[in-house]
């Protein structure tokens, strides 16, 4: 056991080392004699693959232990210790983190491989892989961290990499702005995280500030503090996982290269919030009110993002809103204490959304960076492998049985119903329909009908195998991952949920099997409707519509960005300039300026008193003496 635990530190270290090596090589050679791309590509894939391998070792090791003993802890060293605060640079592998570990390393590796092909034409090849490896390392720290502070290291690290990769094509100001936006919005969330951690520490952290100790002491939390902690941490989660009100950065984050969108902004980093809530299930489970807030925020985000997704024309933006929407589902799940359902959706979503993004990447690659779906069409035959794999992804995303998305989403909706959150269930079903609609709208517009841009269509060709093989692997995952958590009515035994059991504190709702079947049928029906409407409208080719009314507002995303800009960004900047132009020189400094002015003026006045006439000087003396005499007369009598 000790032996395996020691690997835990190695898992994030491998990609980090990769990042360091690649980074140094790149930094010192890029301006003078650039190294061959193949070298970088090979170096970049080593770390993730080795990590994946180690993750498998850890997973099977855990699997070999009895359920209640399934955790491995490796405290590398004391990170810092001040007073009662004692933070170990520690790594924890338990069923939850092991599951995350597996798919993060798996998908990470796949995307690295895909990127070798996708980024082939880029001149900053080395930089890209340095960032990617760095990201993976940070993500693994996030997953493996034995306590919230270590998790926060990864948490911020992935944020940094996200920033770096979003603004990767940094010559274009918009990309950098998108990166800035991502970092800053994430930081707003991080503030919540830090504050939540701090409150938590002062409440129960004195005897150890890692998950295991916290879990043991969680019952000491008072409701007020507990709910505060939950909500503050959730603020952190909304930032990282793009929930209302902090979701705005994610669509813009599509400015980065497509593999980045797949890895960071779909499969792994954005789900960190869900993971974090699940990690803190031992607190959230105690405070249903906080859970409800989480759930409602989640489901409303899902709805809102779905609405936006229906009207987008950029293929990546559609997928981005879809991601936001799916993340909303996950939060709805963890909010209603169905943590395993949420995590399971994270898991399946990672496959199908990574698949969709990579597919979209293939399309974009094939069309030479064309992202507008209204300029595509009929690509089915040109890109067959891409088409079929993306179709599987779309079916999974839409929740069509028996693809993975169906099971995970249905589990969530059922949990909501079972715990009495009927409203959430209803919206969830509605969103499922909308998801099906916009997903297939995309599929139909891209792959079916007649090509809208003849020239681009003619030049399109299937990308190389290094890009398509990961697609196929992911498609397999997207299609069949649902099997891992088959519910009872399909004869399964919720394997994933059982696996996660020791890590989570769950309250399972109880509902009749008929209700479950009814719910399932309802969502299948709604999804079918969605697909049908999409087919009717776009299946046979359609022209780009001119949006009016609600659609226009939806297309412009309810003007949320503009509102944020007007309400937060501009006032912030304005306040900055008010300070530096007015407050600083005129108000804050006025005391100093005024006193120096007064001093100068008084000096001038005194200078004027030095008239130079000797008898006036004598007069001054007499005036002084006279006043003093007046004073002295009082003292004698």
């Amino acid at each position: 056991m000790e032996h395996t635990a020691a690997y835990l530190g190695l898992i994030p270290l491998l990609p980090l080392t990769g990042a360091l090596v690649i980074g140094l090589l790149y930094m010192f050679t890029c301006t003078t004699n650039p190294l061959p791309e193949k070298l970088y590509g090979a170096l970049a894939c080593v770390g993730p693959l080795l990590s994946f391998f180690l993750a498998l070792v850890v997973f099977f090791h855990l699997k070999g232990l009895p359920p209640e003993e399934r955790f491995l802890v490796h405290n590398a060293y004391t990170w810092f210790a001040v007073g009662d605060l004692h933070i170990n640079m520690g790594f924890l592998a338990d069923p939850l983190s092991a599951l995350m570990l597996l798919f993060v390393t798996l998908i990470g590796s796949l995307i690295h491989i895909y990127s070798v092909g996708y980024m082939a034409e880029d001149k900053n090849y080395g930089k890209f892989f340095c960032y990617m490896n760095l990201f993976l390392g940070a993500m693994l720290i996030l997953v493996l961290g034995s306590g919230p502070v270590v998790m926060f290291v990864g948490w911020e690290g992935v944020g940094l990499c996200s920033y770096l990769l979003i603004s990767y094509f940094s010559e274009d100001t918009n990309n950098v702005l998108a990166g800035n936006k991502a970092f800053i919005v994430n930081r707003i969330g991080d503030l919540g995280f830090v504050l939540g951690m701090s409150v938590l520490f002062w409440a129960i952290g004195a005897s150890g500030f890692d998950y295991l100790s916290l879990r043991a002491n969680a019952h000491n939390l008072t409701p007020a503090i507990g709910i505060t902690v939950c909500l503050l941490l959730f603020v952190g989660a909304t930032g990282k996982s793009a929930q209302i009100p902090l979701y705005v950065w994610l669509p813009d984050a599509m400015a980065g290269p497509t593999p980045v969108s797949a890895l960071i902004h779909a499969a792994t980093m954005v789900t960190a919030g869900v993971y974090m809530v699940a990690r803190f299930s031992f607190i959230y489970a105690h405070f249903p009110i906080a859970g409800s807030v989480v759930a409602w925020v989640g489901i409303l985000t899902a709805l809102l993002a779905a609405i936006f997704g229906m009207f987008q024309k950029d293929i990546k933006k559609i997928l981005a809103y879809s991601t936001v929407s799916q993340l909303g589902y996950m939060f709805a799940a963890v909010g209603v204490t169905a943590y395993s359902a949420g995590i399971f959706h994270v898991f399946t979503h990672a496959f199908f959304k990574a698949l969709l993004f990579l597919g979209a990447g293939s399309v974009i690659y094939a069309l030479h960076h064309q992202q507008d779906i209204w300029k595509m069409g009929g690509l089915k035959d040109k890109l067959p492998r891409t088409y079929w794999t993306m179709l599987i992804g779309a079916l999974a995303l839409s929740g069509v049985p028996p693809f993975s998305g169906f099971f995970s989403k249905d589990e969530i909706l059922f949990s909501a119903l079972a715990t009495g959150h009927t409203g959430i269930w209803f919206i969830g079903v509605l969103v499922a329909g909308m998801t099906a609609y916009y997903t297939f709208r995309m599929i139909f517009l891209v792959f079916h009908g007649a090509p809208r841009d003849k020239e681009a269509f003619d030049h399109a060709h299937e990308p190389p195998a290094v890009m398509t093989i990961p697609l196929v692997i992911l498609a397999v995952g997207a299609a069949f991952a649902g099997v891992l958590n088959l519910p009872a009515i399909f004869g399964g035994s919720l394997n994933v949920s059982q696996w996660l059991e020791p890590s989570l504190v769950e309250h399972h709702g109880h509902a009749s099997i008929w209700l479950e079947i009814m719910a399932m049928l309802a969502s299948i029906g709604v999804v079918a409707c969605g697909v049908y409407i999409a087919y009717k409208k776009f299946g046979q080719g359609a022209e780009e519509p001119v949006f009016t009314g609600f659609a226009k507002i939806g297309y412009y995303k309810f003007y949320v960005d503009e509102i944020y800009n007007a309400v937060f960004v501009q006032p912030y900047k304005g306040f900055g300039s008010i300070i530096s132009r007015f407050l600083e020189p005129k108000v804050t400094d006025s005391g100093v300026k005024l006193s120096s002015w007064l001093y100068q003026k008084a000096g001038t006045a005194f200078k004027a008193l030095q008239v130079g006439y000797v008898r006036i000087y004598a007069l001054y003396m007499i005036i002084g003496l006279s006043l003093m005499s007046l004073f002295l007369s009082q003292t004698i009598n």
Binding site: K607, A608, Q610, V611, G612, Y613, V614, R615, A618, L619, I622
Partner: protein, 98 residues
């Protein structure tokens, strides 16, 4: 009666001050200062009489000597001033100011 002497001394002293601050003629000013010294001397003598000790008279004597020394120097300065400006107005000498 002693008080009357003293009051006279005070009056003379104040008149001396008045001369210094209100006149611009260098001579008058110096003579006013002499007047002040005289007033002080009167006070010395009066107190000497009051205490019936002759210390006061000695003091007056010494003050007279000082007054003489000062007067000598003052007159030298007056001559110097007159050489420069041909004028004994103190207000003329106000180059140094501000």
């Amino acid at each position: 009666m002693i008080q009357h002497y003293l009051i006279l001394s005070i009056i003379l002293f104040c008149l001396g001050i008045l001369g210094v601050i209100s006149r611009r003629n260098v001579f008058t000013v110096f003579m006013s200062i002499e007047l002040m010294l005289n007033a002080a001397n009167l006070a010395f003598i009066t107190f000497s009489r009051l205490h019936l000790s002759m210390d006061g008279q000695v003091l007056a004597l010494l003050v007279m000597a000082v007054a003489a020394a000062e007067a000598a120097l003052a007159l030298a300065v007056v001559i110097l001033l007159h050489k420069h400006k041909g004028n004994l107005d103190t207000n003329v000498f106000s180059l140094l100011k501000g």
